[in-house]
C-alpha cells in the first residue's frame, strides 16, 4: 500500500484496520538469480536498487537475525560527503544525492534532515588540510564552506571559545550534510524491495558457501540450501567470519565502535558538530536525544559492547567542546562492530570465486554510504563491472599500492 498523509487519516478513521505488514515473511525459494547475504542497510539497499534500477526481481536478502539489527540500527545517523580523495569523494557525493531523494524513491519518511555538519578547526595545519579537502569537495561537485571562528560562534555560541585547551579557529561546513532516522532506512529499503518482489528472509543464517569448480552456486543456511546465480555479501562487521567460509583472508579487522544517546531534551543543537581536537561528534535527534560518539575502542572485537576508557574519552571531548552539556545525562551506550579496513576505505568488488561478490570494509563510514553502497553493489552484481563512482574500491589496491588513505595512517586499521 502507498503511504501518505491521506492514508494515515483514512486509516485513523477506520480504526487502523487496513495497515498491511511493511514486508512479507516468505519461505526461501529453491533458487534465486541473486542472493544477498546481510539484511542490514547495505544489503537491503542493494536489493532495492537491483529490483528498481536494474530490474532484477528474483532476489533474496537473507538475514541471520532481524533486519536492521546490525550497524544501520546502531550508529550516530550522520550523513555527509566531506571527503578528500578522488577515490572517495565522488562516491560519497553520489550517496548524498541519493539521500536527498530517498523519501520519494522509497515512499517512506526516513527523516533525511540536512541540517548541516561542521568539522571544527583548531590549528593552522588543520585549516590547511581542511582547505584542501573543501576544495576537493567543490571540485567534485559537492558543497563546502570555510568558516572562521566568529562565523562558528554565531551558529554555535555555546561552544567553548573562551576557556578552551585547543581554541576553535574555524570550521569546514557542509550544509547538505545532516542526519537520518537510521532504523527507518532499513525499514524503508526493505519495504520497497519487498514491494518489487524481493524476498526478505529473516532468522536465516548462512553456514557455508556452495562452490563448484571455482564458482559459487548457492549458500548453505540454517533454513537449508538456497541456490543462487550470484551471491553478494554485505555483512560489515562480520565480513571476516563470512568470507572465511569461502577461504578468504581480508584486509580487514573487526573493531567495536561505541555510540551514546542522552535523555530527551528540547532542541539545542541545530546541526552536526565534529570536534577537531578530541574524539567527539554530536547531533540531536528529532526525539531530542543528543546522539554522540567518538573513537573505536581500538582492539579487535566481535562483542557488541565496549569499555569505560572510551566512554570517558568521548565525554571528556564533549565537555571540552561544549561545557553546557555537563548536566545532560547519558542514557544509553551501545557498540557496533566495524569492518576496519587497511586504508580506512571500503571494498566493493568481485572475489577470486566466480559468482561471489563482496561489499565491506566500511570502517565507520558505513551509514552515510548506504544508498550509494547499495546502488554500486547492485550495479556490480547486475553488470559485472564497477559503478563509475566506485572503481577504486578494489581488493587489489593494496597489492598494487593504490591505497585510499584519507587519514594517512597506513596499514593499521584501528587508526583509521
Amino acid at each position: 500500500m502507498r503511504y501518505s498523509g491521506f492514508t494515515v487519516i483514512k486509516e485513523a478513521l477506520r480504526g487502523h484496520k487496513g495497515w498491511k505488514p511493511a514486508w512479507r515473511d516468505p519461505e526461501p525459494k529453491q533458487k534465486y538469480d541473486i542472493v544477498i547475504i546481510g539484511g542490514g542497510g547495505h544489503g537491503l539497499a542493494t536489493a532495492h536498487y537491483l529490483a528498481k534500477v536494474y530490474g532484477f526481481r528474483n532476489v533474496a536478502v537473507i538475514e541471520k537475525g532481524w533486519i536492521g539489527g546490525g550497524n544501520v540500527g546502531r550508529n550516530t545517523t550522520i550523513i555527509r560527503s566531506n571527503y578528500l580523495l578522488d577515490g572517495n569523494e565522488p562516491f560519497y557525493e553520489f550517496s548524498l544525492k541519493l539521500w536527498e531523494g530517498l523519501e520519494q524513491d522509497l515512499n517512506y519518511n526516513a527523516m533525511v534532515s540536512q541540517r548541516g555538519i561542521i568539522n571544527l578547526i583548531h590549528s593552522d595545519a588543520q585549516r590547511d588540510a581542511f582547505t584542501r579537502r573543501g576544495n576537493a569537495m567543490i571540485l567534485n561537485g559537492a558543497d563546502a564552506e570555510l568558516l572562521d571562528a566568529e562565523q562558528v560562534r554565531k551558529e554555535y555560541p555555546f561552544l567553548n571559545f573562551d576557556n578552551a585547551r585547543f581554541p576553535i579557529k574555524g570550521g569546514l561546513a557542509q550544509r547538505r550534510g545532516g542526519t537520518v532516522r537510521h532504523d527507518a532506512v532499513a525499514w524503508g529499503y526493505a519495504r520497497s524491495a519487498d514491494s518489487h518482489g524481493v524476498d526478505i528472509i529473516q532468522n536465516c543464517e548462512v553456514t557455508g558457501f556452495h562452490i563448484e569448480n571455482g564458482r559459487c552456486v548457492g549458500v548453505e543456511t540454517s533454513r537449508g540450501f538456497i541456490g543462487a546465480g550470484k551471491v553478494g555479501c554485505a555483512v560489515a562487521g562480520n565480513s571476516g567470519r563470512l568470507m572465511g567460509m569461502a577461504g578468504m583472508r581480508l584486509p580487514i579487522e573487526s573493531h567495536v565502535l561505541q555510540a551514546f544517546v542522552s535523555e530527551g531534551l528540547k532542541p539545542l543543537l541545530p546541526g552536526v558538530i565534529t570536534f577537531g581536537a578530541g574524539h567527539f561528534y554530536v547531533s540531536q535527534s528529532d526525539k531530542g536525544g543528543l546522539v554522540f560518539g567518538g573513537d573505536i575502542d581500538g582492539y579487535n572485537s566481535y562483542a557488541q559492547r565496549g569499555n569505560l576508557p572510551v566512554v570517558e574519552d568521548v565525554c571528556e571531548g564533549g565537555m571540552a567542546l561544549m561545557p553546557m552539556i555537563g548536566r545532560a545525562r547519558l542514557l544509553r551506550m551501545w557498540g557496533g562492530i566495524m569492518d576496519m579496513s587497511m586504508d580506512g576505505s571500503p571494498i566493493i568488488d568481485r572475489t577470486h570465486i566466480d559468482g561471489l561478490y563482496f561489499n565491506g570494509g566500511w570502517c565507520y563510514g558505513g551509514f552515510k554510504a548506504t544508498p550509494a553502497s547499495g546502488h554500486c553493489f547492485a550495479h556490480l552484481l547486475a553488470k559485472d563491472e564497477p559503478h563509475p563512482t566506485a572503481t577504486a574500491y578494489r581488493f587489489d589496491r593494496f597489492r598494487t599500492g593504490r591505497m585510499i588513505d584519507e587519514k594517512g595512517m597506513g596499514n593499521q586499521p584501528n587508526l583509521h
Binding site: G5, W66, E100, L308, E316, R327, R329
Partner: protein
Amino acid sequence: MTQVNRLNGGQIDRTSTLNFKFDNRNFTAHPGDTLASALLANGVRLIGRSFKYHRPRGILSAGSEEPNALVELRTGNRKEPNTRATTIEMFDGLEAHSQNRWPSLRFDAMAINDRFSNFLTAGFYYKTFMWPAAFWEKLYEPVIRRAAGLGTMSMQEDPDEYDKGFRHCDLLIIGAGPAGLMAALTAGRAGSDVILADEDFVLGGRLNSETYSLNDDIAANWITQTVAELSAMPNVRLMPRTTVIGAFDHGIYGAVERKGDHLSAPSEGKPRQILWRIYSGRALLCAGATERPIAFENNDRPGIMLAGALRSYANRFAATPAQRVAIFTNNDDGHRTAADLHAKGVKIAAVVDIRPEAPLNGDYEVLRGAEVIDTKGRLGLTFAEVKLADGSNRTLDVGALGISGGWNPNVHLTCHQRGRPVWNETLSAFVPGDTLPPGLTVAGAANGIMSTHGALKSGAEAATHALDLKSDAIAIPTAEDAPVTQTPFWYVQGCSRAWLDQQNDVTVKDVKLSHQEGFQSVEHLKRYTTLGMATDQGKTSNMGGLAIMAEIAGKSIPQVGTTIYRPPYTPVPIATFAGRMRGKEFHPTRLTPSHHWAKERGAVFVEVGNWLRAQWFPLPGETHWRQSVDREVRQTRASVGVCDCTTLGKIDVQGTDAADFLNRIYCNGFAKLAVGKTRYGLMLREDGIAMDDGTAGRLAEDHFVVTTTTANAVKVYQHMEFVRQCLFPDMDVQLISTTEAWAQYAVAGPNSRKLLQKIVDPEFDISNDGFPFMACGNITVCGGLRARLFRISFSGELAFEIAVPSRYGDALMRRLMVEGEEFNVVPYGTEALGVMRIEKGHAAGNELNGTTTALNLGMGRMVSKKKDSIGSVLSEREGLNEADALNMVGVKPVNSADKITAGAHLMDASGPVDAANDQGYVTSAAFSPSLNCYIGLGFLKNGSDRHREKMRLVSPLTDLTVEVEIVSSHFVDPEGERLRA
C-alpha cells in the same frame, strides 16, 4: 501550605523543616523526604506531562525506575532537566519546575496532541510528511522537534566539579537490601576487602519500606545494628548514594557516587559526583526487584501508582497521595499495601483482585475476581471504574490507586555483557541467565528469591561461595518467608488506550499495530513504537509490551525473547564521565624550558600537540603578526636568531648494534656514519610511506642521538621499541627518551657561530674546520656546564642546535640574548621557523602527511636497496612509482603581489577547473621576506619535470585563482653555501 497528606511514623526527621519550591509554589518537607514524597505529603499529585500526548502525569514509583515524575531541578547554570522526583533527596531551598508543558502544567496547549492521538499512532511519521520534499526541514521537522524532547538545558557551563577515582576490592556488593547487607556482614567478618554500594541515601533497601520484623524486632533496628557493625570494619567500605552503572570487562564496574546532590551546592573544591572505576575480584548483584504495573484503560492518571510505591511512601516517608485509596492487584503483595495503609489510617475503598480466591480481610472490602476497566479525573484520579466478578460495574471514589502485577527481578547488570535472562514460570518473570559477566553472582530478589528470609540467606550464602570462605555460616535473622508465586496478568481485556510506556506514550493499541505491520521481533517493537526507549529504559514497561506481543503472536514470552539492558543502569551526567579533564585541563600542557622567559617577552603561544610553543615575539608598535614574523626572519637571516626546539623528540639509541638498528629504522644508510657526525634520516612505515624524518648524531661508536618531529615523537619511540623487541630481539640496542632532559635551542644565522663562541668553553673549537657542517659532540658552556652541540640547519643558514640540561634552559636563553646583543640577536617563534623552512624547501608535517613517499618528497634515491630497512620492499609497488607520481615543488605567484594559500589545488594554465583536471595541491604557504612575495610548497603530478611551467592555483572554497609558476622547492640558497659557511 500544610502537609495535608503527611502520615504518622516513617523515617523522616520531623524535628527540622525544609522549605522547597515546585513551580514557584512554596512547600515544606523534612530531612529524609524525597521531592516526590514531599509533594505527595503536600497534596500534589500532578507533576509532569508525557512525551507525545502531553497527558498529565504524576508519580508511578518510589525509586529510580520512575518514568513519569520528571522535573527540572535547580535553576540557572545548575538546572538539571529530566530529574526523577522519586530520587531527589530533599534539601532546604530546593527548587524544581515541571517540564514539557506550555504555558503551564495545569493547562498545556500541546495536550491537543491527545485529541489527535488516533492519527499519531506508532510510526505515523514514517508514512507522511514526505511532500513536498523541501518541507521536511523547513516545516514539519521543526514542529515535531519542538513538541518532542522533555526538559530544557540552561545552555550555560556546568559550574560544578567532578572527579574520577579508582577502587579495588575482593568483593563488590551491588545493593544494600537484606541480601546485600547479609553478604557484606559475611564477607566483612571473614576479613575480605569489601565495597557495599547502594543508589539510595539510606541503606537497607526494601526493608525500609516494609513493616516486617527481623529477629522479632522492627527491621529498622536490625539495619542500624548491621550498618554500625559494617562501618566499624576497616576492610569494609560503605558507599551509599552510589549507583553501579555498568559491568565492564574483567570485573571492572563503573559506579557514580553523588557527593553533592543532596546539598544546595557542593562546597568549595569538592566534587558534585565521582565516577569510580571499581576493580573487583568478585561481584555480587543484590539489586532487588521492580514492581510491574497492569495495563487498563486510562491507567496513567496522576494518583495511579505502583502498590509497592504507595507502601514505601506510607511506611518510609509517612506520605500518601490521597486519603481514599484503592488497590488493583493479581497477587498477595497488593494486599500488604492495603494493610499497611489501613494501619496508617488511610481509607481503603477496596482491594480489587483479579483472583476469585483472593484472601479476604476484615478491615476493608476485597473485590474478588474483579478488574479496573477505566478511570476518571483530568489532572488527577477521581474515580476508578471496576468490573465485578458478576459482570456488574462499580465506581470507586478514590484519589489514588495502587497497582501490583507482581515483581520483576532487577537483572540489568547481568545483561551488560550481552548475557540473556531466562524465563521463570513460577514467578512468570525473567531471572538472571547462566551467561553472567565473569565473576558476578546474583542474590536475593534480583535472583528471583522474593521472601525476606530467602534474600537474607541467599546473600550470606552467595558471599561465602563467591569468596570461597570456610562456611561457619553466620546466623540468619528470622524473617517472613512466605512463598511467592505470580500468576501473569498483563492487561485488562478490551482496553486500548492503556499505557505500557507512560513516558513515551506507548499503549496496548500501539503494540497491536506494530504486530499488524510486521514489526514483531522485540527489537523491531521497541524501535517502531519507542517502547522502553524513554529515560527509564523500560524498567516498568518492557515486560508488559513483550507479554502482549507474545499473546498476539500466539507465542510464549521467552519465544518472543527479551531485549537486553545496556549501561548505564540509570542515566549519568556527561560531566561525570569527563571528570576533571575539562577546559584548560582537557589535556596536560607541556611547557618548554624557555616558556617563562618567553612569557616575559610577551610571546604569543600556540598549541603544538600538548606543547605550548612561542609562535612569535611581538615588539611594541607591531600591530600585525606578519610584522613580527617578517622581522624575526629578516633578522635571523641577516645576523642571528634563537628558537626553542626542545619539543623535537630526542631518543638515545645505544648498544653495540645501535648503528645496525638505525639502518633498519631509516631507509637511508647509517652504518658508516662517523663518530662526531650527524645525518638526516627518513623513516618509512612498513607500507613504504614516509612516517617521520629527523637527524641522528653519532656521539660514540655505540651511542646515537635521534631526533624526531614534535608531532611524531611518541609514535616513533613506540615504533622503534616494536622493531627492537618484536622484529630484532637479539640486537644489542637500548632506547630511552631524553626529550625532556635537554633544553635544545636552534641558533641560526651568519653570526650564530660568533654568538656561540662567546658561551662555548674555549677548549672546544667550533670553527668551520673544527666543527664543520653536520658535526656533533659533547661540549661544555658558560664555564663547565655539560652540553650537546649539533651543527644542523632547518633554516638554511649557518646554524647550530645546542642542548643543556633543562633546568638551565631558561638561564641559557637569557644568556644568549645578553651575549647576542652586539649581533642584534632575535628570538624567533614557530611562524618564522616555518617561513624559513619553506624558503629552504624542507618538508615538514604538512608534507609528511602519511600519504607521501620518499619519491613524492624528492628523496626517492635515498631509499637504499642494499640493506633491509622498514618499508623498502613495499615502497616499490607500482602504484607508488607511477610516471606521473606527485613530486614536491615550489610554487611562486607570477604576479608577485598575489597571495598563495595552502590547500589550494593546481590546474593547468587553461582548461576546465574540476577534479578530473586536478594536478596537485599546495601543502604549505607563507610570505617570504627574503623573496618579498608569497611562496608555497606543494605536490604536483610529475612536478620534477615541470619547473618553470605556468599553472593556475585555485581555491574555490576561498574564491581564489592565482597564476603561478612551478619552481624548485629550494627558494633560498639552493646550493647550500650558507649552511656550510
